[in-house]
Amino acid sequence: MIHSLFLINASGDIFLEKHWKSVVSRSVCDYFFEAQERASEAENVPPVIPTPHHYLLSVYRHKIFFVAVIQIIISFAQDYFGVCSELMIKDNVVVVYEVLEEMLDNGFPLATESNILKELIKPPTILRTVVNTITGSTNVGDQLPTGQLSVVPWRRTGVKYTNNEAYFDVIEEIDAIIDKSGSTITAEIQGVIDACVKLTGMPDLTLSFMNPRLLDDVSFHPCVRFKRWESERILSFIPPDGNFRLLSYHVSAQNLVAIPVYVKHNISFRDSSSLGRFEITVGPKQTMGKTVEGVMVTSQMPKGVLNMTLTPSQGTHIFDPVTKLLSWDVGKINPQKLPSLKGSVSLQAGASKPDENPTINLQFKIQQLAISGLKVNRLDMYGEKYKPFKGIKYMTKAGKFQVRT
């Protein structure tokens, strides 16, 4: 079980420590620093490091290392404060500390449901800070959250809103590897339904799909009644209050996945000359008439590349000669005038021609489209009398989308 937690920033300072059992000297982190030195990049540090007396577990998020801790803590931080940064943690040291205290007892998770934590220790807001200073009340709740004891631990009782609304975002990410010739090697869709539900009382919702068979593998928020899904393919649940992830699903590689964009590329190096050619064009494909936007192209150039002289037809590009990372912020794709980036690559003097052309990573967004074709049929509410405002949004994004060249 978790003994202690250290938070370490990018420059290697321990800026927060918390112990659940006897105090462990912070010198234990030296083992971690050693491993960090050995690893060339932050993300190559092994997640588990054995030391003579302890085992160090590290999690790397938002440029902070959480040594000896579990991931859930980070998601709490985002939930509580909106962002998770060193500055934020330093500013809210006491709240962070109190929450950590509530989350684990003797290193064993006690309460990690953020709804419950929010009731125990109220998240700081400007308004509450003002109120507290005036009235002298506190952030610390003195009642046991009702959720802890109820059958629906994820929902507080006594929720009240003047505007009752329920929004659902269907967000799909395409993970794909496209080979040199443009054919798909592997493509999968990873989807989530994120919800923002602000409803009074104890509403009981059901959400049904036009085509539930598409969902190959699903994981649910604990609120979803599994049996109902098994038998009827309907999501039936009493939602938590506020933002939560209702469902994540997977449309597997076996199904045919539509690829909404293509990349035409011509990257070549010659043995004789120190100049290479570089040319890429991005275009839409199978987008069901929707605009592809937020397009961003990044590519890790080989070590031998000295500089690149490129002209984009639209957007801005940067080549960092130190990290050899090329990034091109394309923006929207206009199908009539496809964006392209052309120019030359200069190699270091004496460097030999690289073995491999760089892979191209793509990011993009398509609003109002779920690429798998998933469609929500209807949302119904039982158990409460009022009429809620309902909304649903679709979006497709690139996940790990790579084009080999």
Partner: protein
Amino acid sequence: DIYLKQMLESSKDSAKLDAMKRIVGMIAKGKNASELFPAVVKNVASKNIEIKKLVYVYLMRYAEEQQDLALLSISTFQRALKDPNQLIRASALRVLSSIRVPIIVPIMMLAIKEASSDLSPYVRKNAAHAIQKLYSLDPEQKEMLIEVIEKLLKDKSTLVAGSVVMAFEEVCPDRIDLIHKNYRKLCNLLVDVEEWGQVVIIHMLTRYARTQFVSPWKDDEVVEEYSENNFYESDEEQKEKDQKVKNTYTMDPDHRLLLRNTKPLLQSRNAAVVMAVAQLYWHLAPKSEAGIVSKSLVRLLHSNREVQYIVLQNIATMSIQRKGMFEPYLKSFYVRSTDPTMIKTLKLEILTNLANEANISTLLREFQTYVRSQDKQFAAATIQAIGRCATNITEVTDTCLNGLVCLLSNRDEIVVAESVVVIKKLLQTQPAHHGEIIKHMAKLLDNITVPVARASILWLIGEYCERVPKIAPDVLRKTAKTFTNEDDLVKLQILNLGAKLYLTNSKQTKLLTQYVLNLGKYDQSYDIRDRTRFIRQLIVPNEKSGALSKYAKKIFLAQKPAPLLESPFKDRDHFQLGTLSHTLNSRATGYLELSDWPKVAPDPSVRNVDVAELAKEWTGILGKTKKEKPTEKFYSESEEDEDESSSTSASGRCLESNLHLPCLKNSIFRTGHYLKRIRKKFKKSQSYVAAPVSVPTKTHELLHRMSGKGLAAHYHFSRQPGIFGDRMVSVQLTVTNTTDQKIENIHIKEKKLPPGMRMHEFNPIECLEPAGSITVSMGIDFCDSAQMASFQLCTKDDYFNVNIQPPVGELLLPVTMSEKDFKKEFAAKTVHSGSLMLVTVELKESSTAQLIINTEKTVIGSVLLRELKPVLSQG
């Protein structure tokens, strides 16, 4: 510091709070704040809850260092343990047990004992946590603590289950006997326990199952193990044994229960839970069923790198033994250039494990991309992987070898070195094909410049010089020419080659070798001069050379063991999957061994729970908790209503009536607990109510035409599934107009319903022609009681008081069950709450029979008993 002290001693809470916040800030940064202990500890009794909490934080950090002063705070906690607010009781227990001061061990022990029978499950949960803390402070308390664990294990609250199992694992993991009676309960509670508790319980149950059930794995695998372990046994004996295994295996229902109840958890959003279920299936499920976990594990690959790392490691171990599990997901393991190196190598490992004749060509094409990767460490690993594929799948050995040979001309040294090493290994494991490839490599020697590669080729030619008798001397000739310009590494191998050739083919190579030895003698590197001297003494006979030179050939050309090309994950399955030990591939402290399946299953009846005992406990524990339990229950799954039902049973007590009848010897009416077994049985079918077998045509009169001024109404129970809601009983109402005028606007008004009862009215009938009749349906939720539903039936200008009383049978819905069970018993559930009801008729000797009705609903139960008795007696 003085300033802080002053603030703490000030009379204002705001100043104190500010000071405490700063102190906690200091602790968080790792600064020493122990000097303030006396000033801080005074505030432990503060009325302000926020100050109090911060003082708690401080105490937990420093009490161990300042034991004497810490004792000052103890009485405050002892008082708080009796507080009416459960949150305060719980936090007092938490802090008290977190203060690591040995003197207070007896106080802690007492507090834990008391808290373990607290009314609040939240406090009991904290008691379970405190057990581990006390145990680590003073292991001598073990026996007493086990008693508390035993008690808490019987707790029915989902809140407590995870924590007490954790305590069990820490304090007495070997006391399997404590689990027996709670096994089924834990299995059934599992879905409703919070996520981290689920993880702990699943791991514990995995270990438990491996000690209690026999292996469900198919015979062929068992046979394999036998032939390995007991090869000395005669065939006949073995056959007998196999026969035995084949004939006797049927899965224990409890074993099945565990598998069934954990399966839905694969859909959990928590990666740890999914991983825990996956390892449970791996270790416990029949091999044919383990496959269902693959999909979920593959899903986890989309989470963070740390989760990926652990999941991939486990998949790597699984994929060695059971390729089939992950073959369909091959493409999910394809490597992306943006993956961290450790993830890349793990994926590669899995791809290699999954390689077979069918997919190898696709895989090799994919590997070609990896070999060119900019991440050279990964490229090198890929070459190793190709080597492994080549040895495992004989069809592609040659293709792989050719591919590897091509790589020898790669510009990158790591790639070349790795290729040569792998080729070397491949050739050693495949002595048959040597000649051709060695010849090919000898030709390549002219072009290859990388020293490691040249050296390796020379070693190969030397090692197998007898198989390439013509080429070897020629290679020596060529290299002798370039000797002075070669790298040290290559020079050493030239000497080596010379020596071997001298020993096998001295006629052709004697002069050449001597020439090379002379060059070596005057080389700049002393390493090479040393080696030259050593070789010369060994192979060239002269008067000084000792007895060793006789054995020169044996020394140089000894058969060298072929290096093994196997997965680094081969032996990892010694460790339970999903554990830290498995990740590290070494025993971590606190690792609990997973035992082998027992040959013969221990007595399964130990898990049977004594009914009477249970009932007593339920009335005890749950009767008390009733007040704090929310009485609403919308989260249907079985367990919560069980809790609730038992509280009703607590209030209604066990009704047990022994009636003596001419035909029915006695009839017993039992409550809740017995239903548990049945509920389990019906878990699947529970939500589905069987269609009614017979629908009675009998109608009841609602309103006689005389008293209704010509309006008559009849109703009957249609036994349709409730159209207006699950809990409604459908009633069909037939209204007839016996007057000679139209009756307008027939509707319902003035409902007088007992609390809880609801009614779904029919839509008003606008107009009913003379002599016309119309049938409408309505729904009534009788709330599982036999009380009347009274209302007014109104027309445009008149109204009549009417009421409907349901026969008890109409409040029940039949539940499907197997034919076998049906012969003995009949099951139904109530319409409103879905409480199960089980009717058993047992024929006794001398034409008497026993009628038993089990239900939680005491009233309905007794009415039903009353009504059934005469009916059965007649038959």
